[in-house]
């Protein structure tokens, strides 16, 4: 690799006394050992509770949300048994209603975004050449709240009182008049709790992108996954307050006696639909854009060429979300709103197709112009492109207002949303796990089982979900616990049930593959796929400090530079800033990634866990009306927060001598 400019960069004027030392830190050198000792978490349960390492947090997110995926999947299979034939009574209507609600809640809130947060938490600092996220403790806190919120929302499931209003939980059905049990309170409080996790996690991503990139990782060099997660995070910061507010108002209506949604007292049921979908639609993009980013970054590795149209793809990512903010009414076409308003929202919904086609043609061109390597991840990504197109096309059909008056609330929508959520989220996620598994664990996954898992999942998925379009066109409404044979939906439902079980078998093969490969997979090198991005420049799995020296980046493809005919500078991954005085990393300027400051990163801490726990207990107290308990938990939480924020000496700048050398 050609040498790069590694003169110590000028650091922010606030710290004139300190210039970072530069040098090399090969494996086994003193500096490397010092870094390892500094960044390592304590062994045992102490380290497990206190770690703030983004890699640990990311993997926890991935594992936890996958557990939720499996739970939600089992719920779906029970639903499919009930619907396999007409007039069955495997489930009572109430059991069915709780199951489909929990299936939706689990998949949409507890799986689809958290899994992507997991990928992004794990990968961002590695992709960006940093040693951690901007706020590592906030990151750990975000995970704990997510975990507790998930458990909270399932707390009433065993006693048969799970949320039963559907995942969009329309009032007045979910209001105090028509839903008297704890079911909806659990959902409402759980959603407010989960909103805390999503919001702090999103803030962390935004700040990380703008301050935590390696020198030279300019804004037009960050991987598309980063664009996807950034876009999702900005959107979440804007729209999660809307849903948190909606659920909080609903809880007030139910428990305190307010009338926000109570018609008899001047409340408005449509207010709920607006507040929910103002959040709900951008959320749909939040749970697919990072997954599309996974494909945009990983597919090129298997095509042996860079992504076609990086800039177009980054812009399309943001355009999708920008338009996605103005389409929530397409969930409300049948509510009697004026047709002029409907036309505008219908046209905006169709316009989403434009950035989507940028993405599709970019992926196809990447495969066309590349030399595909037929490994398992490639199959998942190529299969994803087809599912993305099918889900997009059915989306166009539902965007046409008059046609949506027919399609809305039928199985056509169920088909559409599963093509979108499974096709654009689950397939990239599973492909992404196959791709990054060696980085996560240091071992490769089994290829043979991998190909089997793809084909069984892909065929099972299409057999299961494609006929749902047809069921919708035959008029089958959503959320019915059974149907009569005279409706003509018998065979289509039987096929769907068979397909969904086949799909489940595919997922099972994948899980077996994970379990087996964890123990017996072949050892992975640093860069087993010969990929281009920075996460492959460090060992598999990465050391706790990620990079012994902070990389200096000169292009979008630091590991392919010598083979891409790009002129100019070369990235330097072996020599650079060492930053070994405690946990440190470099902070750079938002656009062109010039070094600006040395960030002192926090040590491991129990406070994120305890703050998360106490906040969750506040919600438990609110749910059970244990007001004293609530107050006690809030006080404990305040103490935990004070401990967290207490100024600490070790975070101050200590090294003051210029050019100090390390032995």
């Amino acid at each position: 690799m050609a040498s790069a400019d590694i003169t110590p960069p000028r650091i922010d004027d606030d710290f004139p006394a300190r210039l970072p030392e530069t040098g090399r830190a090969p494996q086994g050198s003193d500096i490397e050992r010092k870094l390892a000792a500094t960044w390592e978490s304590q062994p045992g349960w102490r380290g497990w509770l206190s770690t703030v390492d983004h890699k640990a947090v990311g993997l926890r997110y991935i594992v936890t949300s996958f557990v939720f995926l499996v739970i939600g999947g089992i719920e779906a299979l029970i639903i499919r048994i009930q619907l396999a034939q007409p007039d069955q009574s495997v489930l009572t209507p109430e059991q069915y209603n709780q199951l489909f609600t929990m299936h939706g809640v689990t998949m949409i809130f507890l799986y689809s975004l958290p899994i992507l947060s997991g990928f992004s938490n794990y990968l961002w600092p590695l992709l960006l050449g940093s040693r951690d996220m901007a706020f590592p403790r906030l990151n750990a806190f975000s995970y704990w709240i997510f975990l507790f919120a998930g458990i909270f929302m399932y707390a009433s499931f065993p006693i048969g009182q799970a949320p039963n209003g559907g995942w969009f939980n329309y009032v007045p059905f979910s209001g105090p008049m028509y839903n008297t049990g704890p079911n909806i309170d659990v959902f409402a409080l759980g959603m407010v709790l989960l909103g805390i996790s999503t919001s702090v996690g999103s803030a962390n991503f935004v700040v990380t992108l703008f301050r935590m990139r390696a020198p030279g990782m300019t804004i037009n060099r960050v991987p598309i996954l980063v664009w996807g997660t950034l876009t999702a995070s900005v959107a979440n910061l804007l729209v999660v307050p809307s849903v948190s507010l909606a659920f909080f108002l609903l809880w007030l209506d139910r428990q305190i006696g307010t009338y926000f949604f109570d018609v008899a007292n001047g409340g408005k049921p449509l207010l709920w639909q607006h507040l929910f979908w103002i959040f709900g639609h951008p959320w749909v993009y939040a749970v697919v854009l990072p997954a599309m980013g996974i494909v945009s970054d990983a597919l090129p590795t298997f095509c042996r060429r860079p992504l076609v149209g990086y800039t177009a793809m980054a812009l399309a990512t943001m355009a999708t979300m920008l338009i996605g903010m103005e389409v929530w009414i397409h969930h409300m076409f049948a509510t009697g709103l004026p047709t002029v308003a409907l036309s505008i929202f219908g046209a905006a919904s169709m316009a989403i197709t434009i950035p989507s086609s940028v993405a599709v043609f970019s992926w196809i061109a990447t495969i066309w112009l590349g030399r595909p390597v037929f490994k398992t991840p490639f199959l998942f990504f190529a299969g994803f492109v087809m599912l993305f197109v099918i889900g997009g096309l059915s989306g166009v059909m539902t965007a046409a207002v008059p046609l949506d008056w027919q399609l809305n609330e039928t199985y056509f929508i169920v088909a559409h949303l599963h093509y979108v959520l499974i096709g654009i989220n689950v397939f990239p996620v599973v492909g992404g796990i196959y791709y990054w598994f060696p980085k996560f664990t240091g071992r490769m996954m089994d290829e043979k089982m991998g190909k089997w898992s793809f084909w069984v999942m892909f065929i099972g998925f299409n057999v299961g979900f494609f006929p749902m379009h047809w069921a919708g066109l035959l008029g089958m409404p959503r959320r019915i616990y059974t149907y009569s044979s005279r409706m003509g939906w018998d065979s289509v439902n039987m096929i769907t049930t068979i397909g969904s079980f086949a799909f489940a078998v595919g997922v099972l093969i994948f899980l077996v593959n994970v379990a087996v490969s964890l123990k017996r997979g072949a050892r992975a090198s640093e860069n087993p796929w010969d990929a281009a991005t920075l996460e492959w420049a460090t060992s598999s799995p990465p050391p706790p400090y990620n990079f012994a020296v902070i990389p200096t980046v000169a292009s979008r493809h630091p590991l392919w530079e010598d083979r891409l005919n790009e002129g100019g500078a070369r990235s330097n991954l072996t020599e650079g800033m060492l930053l070994a005085d405690g946990r440190e990393t470099v902070s750079t300027s938002p656009i062109d990634a010039r070094p600006m400051a040395i960030f002192k990163m926090p040590e491991d801490s129990y406070t994120p866990f305890f703050l998360g726990l106490f906040i969750s207990l506040v919600f438990v107290g609110l749910l059970l009306h244990w007001w004293l308990f609530t107050a006690a938990s809030a006080t404990a939480g305040a103490i935990a927060l004070a401990t967290w924020l207490w100024p600490r000496e070790e975070l101050a700048q200590r090294a003051t001598t210029q050019g100090a050398t390390h032995g």
């Binding site: 008056w405 027919q406 609330e409 003509g488």
Partner: protein, 353 residues
């Protein structure tokens, strides 16, 4: 289904088996969805429409579905070609150039945008065509959704002429009919797919939907907005008949129950007044319960329990005694009746025509 196997890569026997399975699956799928069953699916709005509020939408559906299938095949073709096409040999470690391929995005997005713009215009034209009836509706029906049935009212300036019925909307053929939609409890969805799209019935609002049937017949409707336990069993029917028949029906419905109904010595009548009249009303008697379907002309209706059962005397008594088994969660309790009581009530109910 896209087969994205590589040309260069020799398929393993497992892969070959899977391909065969795919083909087999496709064939099974095609034969299993037999047209006999689906053609006559009563809510099949994709292939049937019987009025001007539904027909333009059906054509829009065909055009959009056609374009979607075509685009799906084009993309599948491109994807398979992209995967399988012959490539010049290259070194193991060679990496393609970054700056090529933009014409794919320009072409693809350009064509998509043109098609899309046309579709936006077309769908707005359809919207315009189906949003409002071409002429002022001659008949107005007020439909109020309840958990889990539909109250149907035909207003008349004279309250005595006001018609209240349930789960069955009669309309004159060939004329637009305005349906005013209300809800008594939660949000429901009013949908007669072969006549028009759906509209939510929202508490506190009066929504409007117009329907028109061009040929006489029975058109099935269904609640489409999830509304709780018996959402699946919340159907109804629109019955379109010639104007003269409709007028005859309307005249009959305006009448109170016949004088032979309210006979205080009749044990069936007494039973009804004791056990049923708290919820159900019969015009011309003291039964005035407002919570459940008006039974004045019960036997003029084709179906029972919001579309669940055909209206026969046996089904009716089955419904009265086993409502909770037939429609779990329904507001109608299963009513225990001795054999004598059952016969008396049945005889009484048979007079409600």
């Amino acid at each position: 289904m896209a087969d994205i196997r590589p040309a260069a890569c020799r398929p393993s026997s497992a892969m070959r088996r899977l391909t065969r399975l795919t083909l087999l699956g496709g064939l099974t799928f095609a034969s299993a969805i037999c047209p006999a069953e689906t053609l006559h699916a009563p809510l099949n709005y994709f292939m049937h429409s019987f009025g001007p509020a539904a027909r333009p939408t059906m054509y829009l559906g065909w055009v959009l579905a056609g374009i979607s299938v075509a685009v799906g095949f084009i993309i599948a073709f491109l994807l398979i070609m992209a995967v399988r096409r012959q490539r010049p040999t290259a070194g193991e470690r060679e990496i393609g150039r970054e700056d090529e391929g933009m014409q794919w995005i320009y072409m693809g997005t350009g064509i998509s945008t043109c098609v899309l713009t046309a579709l936006v215009v077309y769908s707005m034209m359809v919207l315009n065509a189906v949003a409002k009836p071409p002429e002022a509706p001659a008949v107005t029906v007020t439909v109020t959704a309840y958990d889990w049935w539909w109250k149907v009212e035909y207003d008349h300036p004279d309250p005595a002429q006001h018609i209240v019925t349930a789960n069955e909307i009669r309309i004159p053929v060939g004329q637009p009919v305005l349906v005013k939609l209300k809800s008594a409890d939660v949000i429901h969805g009013f949908w007669v797919p072969t006549l028009a799209g759906k509209t939510q019935a929202i508490p506190g609002l009066v929504n409007q939907q117009w329907i028109q049937a061009d040929i006489p017949g029975r058109y099935t409707g269904q609640c489409t907005q999830y509304c709780g336990a018996a959402h699946a069993r919340m159907g109804f029917e629109v019955i379109a008949e010639a104007a003269a028949d409709f007028e005859k029906w309307r005249e009959a419905q305006r009448q109170p129950a016949s004088s032979g109904v309210a006979v205080s010595e009749d044990s069936g009548y007494k039973l009804f007044m004791d056990r049923c009249a708290g919820c159900h009303a019969i015009k011309g008697t003291d039964a005035a319960g407002p919570h459940a379907p008006d039974l004045t002309h019960l036997n003029s209706r084709k179906r029972l329990a919001a579309g669940l059962l055909t209206n026969t005397p046996d089904n009716l008594m089955d419904w009265v005694t086993r409502a909770q088994q037939l429609k779990p969660g329904s507001r109608m309790p299963s009513i225990y009746l001795s054999e004598a009581e059952g016969e008396a009530l049945s005889a009484f109910l048979s007079k409600l025509d």
